[in-house]
């Protein structure tokens, strides 16, 4: 019997393949290594990220699901809760105890009950509704709050870039 982390990841992969949530594709990059996943997230409708397809990488720890995975967008992103190197900063990805921004209640932190699907759905809703209080990208947070038009313009440029359409 393989390790529990591997079995759980396999189960989640199976679940995601059988019942994929709308606008989300995810799976291991290489089926020999289930601890590195690739995900494609479609920008939620009715937001400035609408229409975009954003690739991201998920790295799972050996003790998954006791510890949360790390998620990093592999395309250019401009969003208050995404660091400039693409790392995603949302509370569901933080184990209780570490709180990089000091804003999160432990109720919304990682627990083994969470799953890849829930993480990706949270990221979709994060794209739709940025939390400008815990800014991983301060510039984006400031722009989101003060100059929404400029923010939308940058978001649209990113969306076009992910689709390969020249801007």
């Amino acid at each position: 019997m393989a390790g529990s982390a591997l079995r759980r990841l396999m189960a989640e992969y199976k679940q995601l393949t059988l019942n994929p949530p709308e606008g989300i594709i995810a799976g291991p990059i290489n089926e020999e290594n289930f601890f590195e996943w690739e995900a494609l997230i479609t920008g939620p409708e009715g937001t400035c990220f609408e229409g975009g397809v954003f690739p991201a990488k998920l790295i799972f720890p050996p003790d998954y699901p006791l510890s949360p995975p790390k998620m990093q967008f592999t395309c250019e992103m401009f969003h208050p809760n995404i660091y400039s190197d693409g790392r995603v900063c949302i509370s569901i990805l933080h184990a209780p105890g570490d709180d990089p921004m000091g804003y999160e209640s432990s109720a919304e932190r990682w627990s083994p009950v969470q799953s890849v699907e829930k993480i990706l759905l949270s990221v979709v809703s994060m794209l739709a509704e940025p939390n400008d209080e815990s800014g991983a990208n301060v510039d984006a947070a400031k722009m989101w709050r003060e100059n929404r038009e400029e923010f939308n313009r940058i978001a649209e440029r990113i969306v076009r870039r992910t689709l390969g359409i020249p801007t």
Partner: protein, 588 residues
């Protein structure tokens, strides 16, 4: 590509050097002497040797590991840099016998170390790899065998050389290889555990526990080795700076393993004692899937107090990190102890009830000024007492009025001096007598408060606040009455003990009746006395019935707060009143 280029250049250089030597000396032996005498040639030869070692390393790696994963490679590089710097530090300690052989030995050590690291990473990865081929097992087993025997040989060699030739650099090697040997043992144990788990059809739940203990024991052995090494090095050479970083990490890992074992034991203990096994019916009702591992629960599942069900093994590993329910985040450890505490409290309460605290805790006699009493009334006069008590019973307040003004600091002593209840003997021995009969117990619930009174105390308006303050004042009156009662009681006990009966006989007829009965009563039993004073307090209670419930409420928390000293009590009261007055003032 670059590596290939570098090795080609190196080979070319070596060929040139050898060709040059051979061209000049024409014979084998003179050419070798020529090369060893010429520094540039030796440099080229050393570089070539280094590159050959690297190539050999790559070849061995290919044989034993195949393609390295990115994570493995990064890990290797990171550790290699640390090891190289530490080796350079070690050179400084043994700079006296710095020679090519010495460098070669250190290079070999590094070389073997890197294979230990790789083997460790590989075996750790076993658990996470979906496919384990037979090739993997062959590779790992042979590698462990080779590494283990090499380590053993080197340790033995170092030991023998130290024994025969005395302490030398072999000490460091012996120690380093001993550490590596423990590492090999650790990896082998892990490998065996993983292999057993892989070959079983059901998840092996206790594997994590075995791994924890392996980690703990190996950590302990390593810590002991490092400490011994540092002690020996300090005694023979100097402080081994190069061993400090690995020693620190080893100690840290050991500490972590130790904590893990403790946490794990605690989690197992909690699960075995606190949480019941889930019954098959409960499992079926709850979807039958453990939400931690997403697998069916057929055996060994536990139900938490919040009714969530998980695999025992999954819960154990989670509780090792956090003591919360994974689903609802109920703090498991916190809920159970409080339950216990509450139970204990409930058990204690009935025991404590026969002696209600408010009347027992403070000793009201501490503050008495016996000299003042001595001045005022040398002989306790029963004449004075009777009216005082009458007044007490009728008006219910003459004794307590002074306390109602907030500046009551001195009022108690004055009161005692002016209206001594039952004639206080000048020097009281101040014994403490527990109540023989029950003191007045104020009503226990709010029902005795009329709706009107309740309404009066709600809200933030001035009159509401005043009503509340009034209520608190009533409580104060009750407390004072209780204190007085206590004083009367102990005074009467004192009288009964000290006062001769004839003195009462000489008093005026009207009062004799009461006093006679009093003294006789107190002579016979102090109970009656208390009942009279109880009635006094009951009068007050009736007059201030609105405060009854609040009295109990405010009494209970202040049970232990009431200072043993009356003036401090007054001070406390004054402060409380001020606190109540402040919001009232702010309201306006």
């Amino acid at each position: 590509m670059r590596a290939v280029g570098v090795s080609l250049i190196s080979v070319a250089l070596t060929t040139i050097v050898i060709a040059n030597a051979y061209y000049q000396k024409k014979q084998f032996y003179p050419s070798v002497v020529y090369i060893t005498k010429s520094n540039p040639s030796m440099a080229v030869i050393y570089i070539q040797a280094f590159i050959l070692v690297l190539l050999a390393g790559k070849l061995t790696r290919k044989i034993f590991f195949g393609q390295l994963r990115t994570a493995e490679f990064e890990h290797l590089m990171e550790r290699a840099w640390y090891a190289i710097t530490e080796t350079c530090l070690a050179f400084t300690v043994f700079r006296d016998d710095f020679n090519p052989k010495f460098v070669a030995l250190f290079t070999l050590l590094l070389f073997l170390k890197s294979f230990h690291w790789l083997a460790e990473d590989r075996v750790d990865y076993m658990e996470r790899s979906p496919v384990i081929s037979w090739l993997f097992h062959v590779r790992v087993l042979s590698l462990l065998l080779v590494l283990g025997s090499l380590d053993y040989l080197f340790v033995q060699h170092a030991y023998l050389s130290t024994m025969t030739k005395g302490a030398s650099v072999q000490l460091v090697f012996g120690f380093e290889y001993a550490i590596l040997l423990t590492m090999v043992v650790n990896i082998a144990i892990k490998y065996i555990l993983h292999a057993i788990d892989l070959n079983s059809d059901t998840p092996w739940e206790n594997k994590a526990v075995f791994l924890l203990y392996t980690e703990l024991i190996m950590g302990l052995i390593k810590v002991i080795l490092y400490v011994a090494f540092v002690v020996i090095m300090v005694r023979i050479y100097t402080l081994p700076l190069f061993a400090f970083r690995p020693m620190y990490y080893t100690i840290r890992n050991f500490k972590k393993a130790f904590n893990d074992v403790i946490l794990s034991r605690r989690a197992i203990h909690n699960m075995n004692t606190l949480y019941p096994d889930a019954t098959p019916e409960e499992l079926q009702a709850a979807d039958n899937v453990c939400i931690i591992c997403r697998e069916e629960m057929t055996t060994a599942s536990k139900k938490l107090p919040c009714n969530h069900i998980f695999h025992t093994a999954c819960l154990r590993s989670w509780f090792q990190r956090q003591q919360t329910c994974p689903t609802c985040r109920l703090n498991i450890l916190r809920t159970t102890p409080t339950n216990n505490a509450q139970q204990q409290r409930q058990e204690q309460r009935p025991r404590a009830q026969p002696v209600p605290n408010p009347f027992v805790g403070p000793n009201p006699f501490v503050n008495f000024n016996p000299f003042q009493q001595l001045l005022n009334q040398n002989v306790p006069n029963p004449n004075v007492q009777a009216p005082a008590q009458d007044a007490n019973q009728q008006g219910g307040t003459p004794n307590v009025t002074p306390t109602q003004n907030t500046q009551a600091g001195s009022s108690t002593s004055q009161q005692q001096a002016n209206v001594p209840p039952f004639g206080m003997p000048p020097f009281m021995p101040f014994p403490f007598f527990p109540f023989v009969s029950q003191p007045p117990v104020p009503p226990q619930n709010l029902r005795s408060l009329s709706p009107e009174e309740l309404r009066r105390m709600e809200g933030n308006e001035r009159e509401n606040v005043e009503a509340r303050i009034q209520c608190l004042k009533n409580i104060q009156v009750m407390l004072d009455a209780a204190v007085l009662m206590m004083q009367q009681y102990s005074a009467s006990v004192a009288i009964s003990a000290t006062m001769p009966v004839p003195q009462t006989a000489s008093s005026t007829p009207e009062s004799t009746s009461t006093v006679n009965t009093e003294t006789v009563a107190s002579n016979s039993s102090p109970k009656d006395n208390v009942t009279t004073s109880t009635s006094t307090v009951n009068n007050i209670l009736n007059s201030s019935s609105s405060s009854s419930e609040n009295a109990t409420n405010s009494n209970s928390p202040s049970d232990n707060k009431i200072p043993s000293n009356l003036s401090a009590e007054e001070e406390l009261r004054r402060r409380r009143l001020q606190r109540f007055q402040q919001p009232a003032e702010q309201q306006q």
